[in-house]
């Protein structure tokens, strides 16, 4: 009784390490030092940036006069880019689904297998997409097929990580219920896992599609087809009025995908 009275009068005190938030401040300080060191190594000089800012406005000025007639030329390659992105992302996603189920710790058959699958996925993600494009151009030749293969592998690496992390956040309750009802692993996945993550899958798919539309512009440089070929051509010939049209076209596509993604998420949720 005495003890509890005493406790109610004076608040329990914390050790000074906790009271002064030493860990938090120390982490912040270390981060600041790392930031400063990194900036020095990267040779960051803001003065150079501002001295030559005129160059930037020069370029913007040229781009502010888009050559609208070029739009007709751009339509075919941009639709090719979209098709490449859709096919590539779809293939990558379909392959990613079984892999993400093997990699997710909460439903994996065992930890050893999931570790191996994760290691493999890390390797896939490490390969730069430019290298993939070069590789596939060498295998199947210049054209959009090489682009599709590149995007498929890239999407596979990205989607499988996003997917297995989503799978790991599901509510384990329904899984337990299905297991207790005598369901096997595949039945548990179809009935208890997929309904919980379907929306995440859709929005990650659309997000990857958007990234692929943008990154396929770069792939064009390597001859992997799509709008990138035209972007490269206009930049190489300093024809910024055409570049502007291409960037605008890509923006429109990205906006449409984003709108679609938002719409579907609201509908499905």
């Amino acid at each position: 009784m005495k003890q509890s009275l005493k406790n109610s009068q004076s608040m329990p005190s914390r050790p000074w390490l906790q009271r002064l938030h030493i860990k938090g401040w120390a982490s912040f300080l270390i981060f600041l030092l790392l930031f400063k060191g990194s900036a020095q190594i990267c040779d960051i000089q803001l003065s150079t940036f501002f001295q030559n800012l005129g160059q930037f406005f020069e370029l913007i000025k040229k781009m502010l006069h888009p050559q609208w007639s070029y739009l007709a030329v751009v339509v075919a390659p941009i639709s090719e880019t979209i098709k490449m992105a859709i096919v590539g992302t779809t293939i990558g996603t379909l392959v990613a689904v079984p892999f993400c189920l093997l990699a997710a710790r909460n439903i994996a058959i065992n930890r050893f297998i999931s570790s191996i699958v994760r290691f493999f996925l890390n390797i896939v993600r490490t390969i730069p997409d430019l290298m993939l494009a070069a590789l596939f151009v060498a295998i199947v030749g210049i054209g959009s097929f090489a682009g599709v293969l590149t995007l498929a592998v890239f999407s596979f690496g990205m989607i499988s990580k996003l997917f297995y992390e989503a799978v790991e956040t599901i509510d384990p309750g329904p899984l337990e219920a299905l297991q207790a009802a005598g369901a096997n692993k595949i039945q548990m996945i179809v009935f208890a896992v997929l309904p919980q993550i379907f929306n995440n899958f859709i929005s990650y798919f659309l997000y990857t599609l958007e990234i692929n539309v943008r990154s396929s512009t770069v792939l064009g440089y390597l001859g992997a087809g799509g709008i990138g070929v035209y972007l490269q051509r206009s930049l190489d010939s300093f024809n910024y009025s055409q570049t502007a049209i291409i960037i605008l076209a890509i923006l429109v596509v990205v906006l449409i995908i984003d709108g679609l993604s938002n719409y579907l998420r609201e509908k499905l949720l």
Binding site: E176, A177, L178, A180, A181, G182, Q196
Partner: protein
């Protein structure tokens, strides 16, 4: 029938991987058709005991017989068939919230289907009818096509009961089925369980916190304290003072001494 119990738990002990003792030398025979309520403090081992019966938890020592067959070494298909014959009800209902009530109830039937058929949603017309009847049995027939997350807690628990009915269970295990419900829905859910017990002769084992509810519905009350079975009486021999011993663990009694 009384001399050969449906569930026969023989001297089981459970020690978790981290060294925590879940159950200490527990023995319990449950005849078919009995409505057994297990009471005890949180952490007394009620959930562990319940989950050893359908092998959601394995035991460290001892044996469990169901219908005279030892189940502790069951694997794969045999284990799934055992679980199929034992329904389970959870505190948090464990429905698939984004699926319809119908799909949730049919999920209780997957143990009777080959994988490809259930995955392709090829449930037979008879089973769809059965799902509707199971829902009607718990008064939820008109919610067949609602989404599970549109239902209240009590309704969700009744859907969960309908799901276990799809298993054609011999036994229903209910782990704190009313802990997330208000007093009104508590009565409905407990009455549903009691009705299944009486009408379909399903053996029911329920974990509860509430002694009054236990006394209202049980045929027999079993008490656990710190992993040990310390109390076991048929309902007509139970008197209220008995519960003092169950709800007085060694640690809480020292707390009370300190406080006074």
């Amino acid at each position: 029938m009384t001399e050969k119990p449906l569930i026969s738990i023989k001297n089981i002990s459970k020690i978790y991987a981290n060294g925590t003792v879940g159950l200490k030398n527990v023995s319990l025979n449950i005849p078919a058709g009995q409505f057994v309520v297990i009471v005890g403090l949180s952490g007394a081992g009620k959930s562990t005991l319940l989950r050893t019966i359908n092998r959601m938890h394995s035991v460290t020592q001892g044996d469990i017989l169901i219908d005279g067959h030892s189940i502790i070494h069951y694997k794969n298909k045999q284990l799934r068939q055992l679980r199929r014959s034992i329904g389970m009800i959870f505190q948090d209902f464990n429905l698939i919230k984004r699926s319809t009530v119908q799909r949730n109830v049919l999920a209780g039937r997957v143990g009777y289907y080959p994988t490809w058929k259930s995955v392709c949603n090829l449930f037979s017309a008879a089973d769809k009818q059965k799902a509707y009847q199971a829902l009607q049995q718990v008064g939820m027939g008109e919610k067949l096509y609602s989404r599970a997350d549109a239902l209240s807690g009590g309704q969700q628990q009744r859907v969960a009961i309908a799901r276990t009915l799809m298993q054609d269970p011999k036994i229903i295990l209910a782990d704190e089925p009313i802990a997330s419900l208000d007093p009104m829905t508590t009565q409905t859910v407990m009455k549903d369980l009691k009705q299944l017990n009486r009408q379909l002769n399903i053996t029911v084992v329920v974990n509860l916190h509430s002694v009054p509810i236990a006394q209202q519905f049980a045929d027999r009350i079993v008490g656990l304290r710190a992993g040990e079975l310390i109390y076991d009486k048929l309902i007509d021999q139970v008197n209220s003072e008995d519960f003092q011993t169950i709800y007085q663990s060694s640690s809480s009694s020292t707390d009370m001494e300190n406080a006074s």
